[in-house]
């Protein structure tokens, strides 16, 4: 009995190994850090997005708004609190906290409207929120309006310019790695608990799930808020902290949602290993394509998404799971 309690979480091992390997490669091979950081970013957003898309089957086309609002959380924290005596790294941690708070609040607002809706209506409502929020910021000149927030100076004042530089060029990316791993842990904990089963049921057949006693709205909300909060953290660390600026058109750019969708679908929606696999495949392909034939990446990817959707919607890990299910290796695959 005790043995099976631990083996349940074995699939975390390949995930952990992947992230560790990435980190080590980035640190030891000169010049690789930027690429590795980008891959880690994709892994993180993939894992986070998968918590909602993969487990419920609903597409949140406005997902990037949570990342954006998280980025603002970090930016606002540094901008407004940097002059507090001795706060030092506290601005960064407060920034992360604020990011989670803002993302959670936004997801509650979105969820209240959108989660009662099904399929297409849900997708439209989420796009509406993303765009609406962005134009509210620009139109009402909130938080710097369309000029955004640039806060390198304030960060340097709070941390000292050497630390600030280290934070934004190295530690921000390390945070992203940690967040990616945290998202993976959350995913597998959900999957192995009643939450995961409820989500699978509602993904398969929402009406049958209801009759089985599953409060589908409650579970959708859980998945939604979780996914959104992690996105907020990623926006705070991977965007704001790393770039030390936030601009509305940049952080609400819908193509990041597209990338999330590609990563999760390609890798295998609803699986634990899917997002890292998808992130690596997509990230590397994008990088090499941009070197070989710049400007053509989307042209190549669009038909690929089409083919994946039509021909093998389970994605890479979905197929792998099917083949290795029940075998010895299968214990490590989820």
């Amino acid at each position: 009995m005790k043995e099976s309690k631990i083996t349940k979480y074995y699939p975390l091992i390949p995930v952990c190994a992947t992230y560790l390997a990435l980190f080590i490669i980035g640190e030891s091979v000169p010049g690789m850090w930027q690429l590795v950081a980008m891959l880690a970013f994709y892994c993180a957003i993939g894992q986070a997005f998968n918590i909602f898309l993969g487990m419920t089957g609903y597409v949140d086309f406005g997902y990037v708004a949570f990342m954006g609002v998280g980025a603002y959380g970090m930016a606002l924290s540094v901008e407004r609190l940097h002059m507090v005596e001795g706060i030092g790294m506290g601005v960064v941690f407060l920034g992360l906290l604020l990011a989670v708070v803002l993302a959670t609040l936004l997801s509650l607002a979105v969820g209240a409207v959108a989660l009662r809706l099904r399929g297409a209506y849900f997708a439209i409502a989420t796009i509406g929120v993303n765009e609406g929020f962005r134009y509210l910021i620009e139109g009402a000149k909130l938080w710097g309006g369309s000029e955004g927030i640039v806060f390198y100076g304030q960060l340097a004042k709070a941390l000292g310019s050497e630390t600030a530089s280290q934070v934004s060029t190295f530690w921000a990316d390390v945070f992203v790695f940690l967040i990616a791993f945290m998202a993976a842990c959350i995913t597998i904990v959900y999957m192995r608990s009643k939450i995961g089963y409820a989500l699978t049921a509602l993904r398969e057949d929402e009406d049958a799930a209801k009759v089985m006693g599953i409060n589908v709205t409650k579970y959708k909300i859980i998945a939604f808020i979780t996914s959104a909060s992690v996105a907020g953290l990623i926006g705070a660390a991977g965007w704001a902290l790393k770039l030390t600026n936030v601009f509305p058109p940049q952080v609400f750019e819908i193509h990041y949602t597209v990338e999330c969708i590609i990563i999760v679908l390609l890798g295998g929606a609803g699986t634990l290993l899917g997002p890292p696999v998808g992130a690596l495949v997509y990230g590397l392909a994008k990088y090499w394509l941009s070197v070989i034939i710049p400007g053509f990446q989307l042209f190549i990817f669009a038909p690929i998404i089409l083919v994946v959707i039509v021909v093998f919607p389970e994605g890479i890990m979905g197929l792998v799971k099917k083949r290795w299910r029940g075998t010895g290796l299968g214990k490590f695959i989820e």
Binding site: L117, A120, A123, Y135, L136, G139, I261, P303, V310
Partner: protein, 295 residues
């Protein structure tokens, strides 16, 4: 003075609204019959815009010729896309068709970018202006207005008076029932999708008659979003609803611009966009079937 300016603005909004409405009819048709939201809607309009560009700059003809050309091209594209991808996704979960149309849109954008480059293009179609008391309306916009209404009327007659059209209406109501009545539902799907895309591409031409600049491969995104708001306003499955939704939207868009411009500290253009999404969310909250929807 503000009153006249507002009235003029509203009239312009009404005219633009007709074009928006007509542009959304394709979206509503595809949703009504196939229950698929064409997330790549704006990209198809963009294709129409480029057809107009090509007809005017390339062939030296009046853009009015571009309308049937775009329509035919649209129907052909729709037919091809339906048989290669959409057909297989009818039974799949909604997510699949949403993503498929999304991917199609991206594919179109990138293809056009390869051909024309990412810059902005435009054309100049000067056919005079008409003074309407409260505002001055270029004839090109009037042509766009008339064109939109004509197309909407033709569609209305087609849906209600012809066998093909009424068959489609039956499929919207109840696809199983329609099948039992002997209607070839598969062909109805193909026809609706092709027709819907054809309408959408043609509407791109009409749009350029109203706004002949800013034509670029990525121009479509904004219009996809507006189309969603309009379609939901009018009831997602109803092409007529879409048309009237468009009129309402045009009025709201322009009217709200005038109002926001009055309030200091606000950026009216962005606020107008925010306002339209607010409306979208309110409608989804209160009456998701649309202002004019029946279910």
């Amino acid at each position: 003075m503000f009153g006249i300016q507002l009235a003029g603005n509203l009239l312009q909004g009404l005219v633009l609204g007709a074009v928006y409405g007509m542009a959304t009819m394709g979206l509503s048709l595809i949703f009504g019959v196939l229950k698929v939201v064409n997330v790549g809607h704006g990209a198809f309009m963009m294709v129409g815009a480029f057809v107009a560009l090509w007809v005017f700059n390339g062939l030296g003809l009046s853009p009015i010729w571009a309308i049937p050309a775009a329509f035919v091209l649209g129907m052909a594209l729709g037919f091809i896309f339906f048989h290669t991808s959409m057909k297989r996704l009818i039974k799949a979960p909604e997510l699949a068709s949403l993503l498929a149309t999304f991917a199609l849109g991206i594919l179109l954008e990138e293809t056009v970018k390869l051909i024309y480059g990412a810059d902005f293009h435009g054309y100049n179609w000067i056919v005079g202006k008409v003074s309407m008391g409260i505002t001055v309306m270029p004839m090109s916009k009037i042509y766009a207005f008339v064109g939109s209404i004509l197309i909407a009327l033709i569609l209305y007659f087609w849906f209600t008076k012809t066998r093909g059209g009424t068959a489609l209406t039956c499929v919207v109501e109840d696809s199983e029932g329609a099948r039992v009545c002997g209607i070839n539902v598969g062909r109805a799907y193909a026809l609706s999708f092709s027709l819907g895309i054809g309408l959408t591409v043609a509407s791109g031409v009409l749009l350029t008659m109203f706004i002949p600049v800013g034509i670029s491969p990525y121009m479509g995104g904004v219009y996809t979003l507006k189309a969603f708001v309009i379609a939901v306003l009018g009831g997602l499955g109803s092409p007529y609803g879409a048309f009237f939704g468009g009129l309402i939207f045009g009025l709201l868009e322009n009217g709200s611009y005038s109002l926001f411009a009055l309030i200091p500290g606000l950026e009216p253009f962005a606020m107008t966009r925010f306002f339209s999404f607010l409306i979208l969310l309110l409608i989804l909250l209160i009456k998701p079937t649309g202002l004019l929807g029946t279910k």
